[in-house]
């Protein structure tokens, strides 16, 4: 049913809230292992589109398959195969780093032994060893985001959805964050990421730009720049978003 290695296939996907069309018949595919940038101004419909793909919002019309499952009828199967990290920081502030890992590992069905192993791995990788028993609420935002990303990868999902993961984070941490993204993409994980930072768009394999609920452009950053005769992705974005 899936042609070659597309892990996300979206056809004419639409979401209406009353008379307002938030997402208007968008169509695109994402290949396995790809870093797919999903750009757009505030209110362009990115988050709404993403919510349909991760199975927490039902589409009004159109089809979408994620990891081979239909978003309208097989949302729970999709959830087993994806990771998600939202712009609204979504770990528990009143639990320690370790407890957060245990909880999310647990509800993804990992065994206690596996959770222990993952906790060790993860804290070593992030250099967090001394902080595992600290409340997440007491950590700086940059740390929280890195931990949240690692937690979303705990169950080794096929695809990770990142909704503005680096919002409000300093440039150094953003750089480190993108290194983590590359690392997991190299392991074969597909990355679907929304962002407002145009320098980050340059890191993506392919980028789509949404304007008023529609996808206005979709290609690699290099080709987009050529097509719009622009120096940077920033210029591409401004040209499109201003209409």
């Amino acid at each position: 049913m899936m042609e070659n290695n597309n892990v996300i296939e979206v056809k004419e996907l639409t979401k209406m809230f009353g008379d307002f069309t938030a997402v208007s018949a968008i169509t695109f595919e994402v290949k396995q292992g790809e870093i797919f940038g999903f750009l757009g101004a505030n209110g362009a419909g990115k988050t709404t589109a993403m919510k349909m793909l991760i199975g927490i919002s039902k589409p009004t019309a159109g089809d979408a398959r994620v990891a081979g499952f239909d978003v309208a009828s097989e949302a729970e199967n999709i959830k087993k195969n994806i990771g998600y990290m939202s712009q609204k920081f979504a770990l528990y502030d009143d639990l320690t780093v370790k407890e957060n890992i245990t909880f999310f590992g647990g509800i993804y069905g990992l065994t206690r032994a596996k959770i222990k192993e993952k906790t060790r791995e993860l804290t070593e990788e992030l250099g967090l060893k001394d902080l595992t028993d600290q409340m997440v609420g007491s950590l700086p935002l940059g740390w929280k985001q890195k931990i949240a990303f690692s937690v979303s990868l705990l169950h080794e999902p096929k695809i990770v959805f990142l909704d503005e993961p680096t919002g409000g984070v300093d440039p150094i941490t953003r750089r480190q964050f993108w290194e983590m993204i590359y690392k997991s993409a190299n392991k074969g994980t597909t990355i679907f990421v929304t962002t407002h930072y145009m320098d980050e768009a340059e890191y993506c394999d392919r980028v789509s730009i949404m304007v008023n609920g529609k996808i206005e452009a979709l290609d690699s950053p290099k080709k987009l720049k050529e097509q719009y005769g622009a120096e940077t992705m920033n210029d591409v974005f401004l040209k499109l978003a201003r209409g």
Binding site: I56, S57, E76, A90
Partner: protein, 373 residues
């Protein structure tokens, strides 16, 4: 189930880590039990009593003596005129004014019909009724005595045959109000805490954004709901235990019936309350909204539970509504088992209704919790 275990573990950690909530959960209800059990009483005492004695004879003084002797009346003032008494009543200084007419003694001696004037502040109708009964009981007993005295003087006329009743009070021999109220107040506390905690729980996760994260996981709805409910169920049972200990040690309330039966009933009852709480939580977006709705139901449940006012005296439509009031069943069961020693067969109707209610509310809670919008 393993997944549920992870949720329960997390919930307990969060509850016991919340230094602001712990005293609210465990200390406040106990303080309320101690205060309310002593304060919430319907016994009418310390009635502010005043009189106008236009007779001023030994007989009228003997009648007033009776009021002074009663523990229910605080005899306050002797007013010279009805006007003074009226203005005192208006100010709220007196509740009851008794007016003894002139020639009271003389008329009695002459076996004439006699009338006493009685004015009662009836803003609270129920209280006024009780006060009126108290007064007429005193007057009647005075009447009886005076007539026997008079009869002795005036030879042997036909003695009136008197019918008296000898009441025996069952289940609460000493008519101790606390015995009646403590089980009921205990019910309220268990209900309030569990309803508010569960009502605010899921909506809190909505507010901080973690619910969205949960909804993106493959967790099953029923796993999530059970994992959320269980810690509060434990807390509810814990509250019942602490409350029963206080009832026994502090108020010396007799616990006639089976403790096991009380716990069995409560264990089901708490599920009803938790189901209602989660149902509210699912339909609200903020903790304030959830709190207001929970209060709305709580007030109706409390006032229509039969705890403070008997259900039998409510209008029929209101009685029909009380059928949907879980607190009503809990109050009934607690009073029946604790004070009367009722057995399982006695409380079977309440037990069965509560069980059905629990299934319905939790079914609704699971149904209304939507992972997909």
């Amino acid at each position: 189930m393993k997944t549920i275990g992870f949720i329960i573990q997390k919930e307990f950690k969060q509850i016991f880590r919340n230094k602001g909530m712990l005293p609210i959960i465990f200390v406040m209800p106990m303080v309320q039990l101690l205060i309310l059990a002593n304060a919430a009483t319907f016994e009418i005492k310390n009635i502010k009593f005043a009189y106008l004695d236009h007779d001023r004879t030994p007989t009228s003084r003997a009648l007033l003596e009776k009021f002074t002797a009663s523990t229910y009346f605080n005899v306050l003032t002797d007013y010279a005129s009805g006007k003074q008494a009226n203005s005192a009543m208006l100010k709220g200084d007196v509740d009851v004014v008794l007016e003894i007419p002139p020639y009271f003694e003389k008329d009695l001696m002459n076996d004439k019909h006699n009338q006493l004037g009685l004015t009662i502040n009836a803003i609270d109708g129920a209280t006024a009724g009780v006060e009126s009964v108290y007064v007429s009981q005193i007057v009647q007993s005075f009447n009886k005595n005076i007539r026997t005295e008079l009869m002795q003087v005036s030879d042997n006329l036909v003695r009136p045959i008197q019918i008296t009743t000898i009441p025996s009070f069952w289940y609460n021999e000493t008519l101790n109000y606390k015995t009646f109220m403590v089980p009921g107040i205990l019910v309220l506390l268990v209900t309030m805490i569990t309803l508010f905690l569960s009502g605010m729980n899921i909506v809190r996760e909505k507010e901080i954004g973690t619910l969205e994260q949960i909804n993106v996981t493959p967790i099953l709805k029923k796993q999530f709901i059970i994992g959320k409910l269980f810690p509060f169920w434990i807390i509810g049972m814990g509250l019942l235990t602490i409350g029963l200990i206080i009832a026994k040690l502090v108020f010396d309330i007799p616990i006639v019936g089976s403790l096991a039966l009380m716990y069995a009933y409560t264990s089901i009852y708490i599920f009803v309350v938790l189901g209602i709480g989660l149902f509210i939580s699912n339909f609200t977006d903020t903790q304030q909204q959830a709190m207001f709705i929970a209060w709305f139901f709580m007030v109706i449940f409390i006032l229509m539970s039969g705890l403070f006012t008997p259900i039998e005296s409510m209008p029929e439509w209101a009685q029909a509504i009380t059928e949907f009031n879980p607190i009503k069943y809990f109050v009934e069961v607690m009073r029946m088992v604790m004070l009367k020693g009722s057995s399982f067969t006695d409380i079977l109707p309440q037990f069965a209704k509560t069980l059905v209610y629990a299934f319905i509310m939790n079914g609704l809670a699971v149904w209304s919790y939507k992972k997909t919008s």
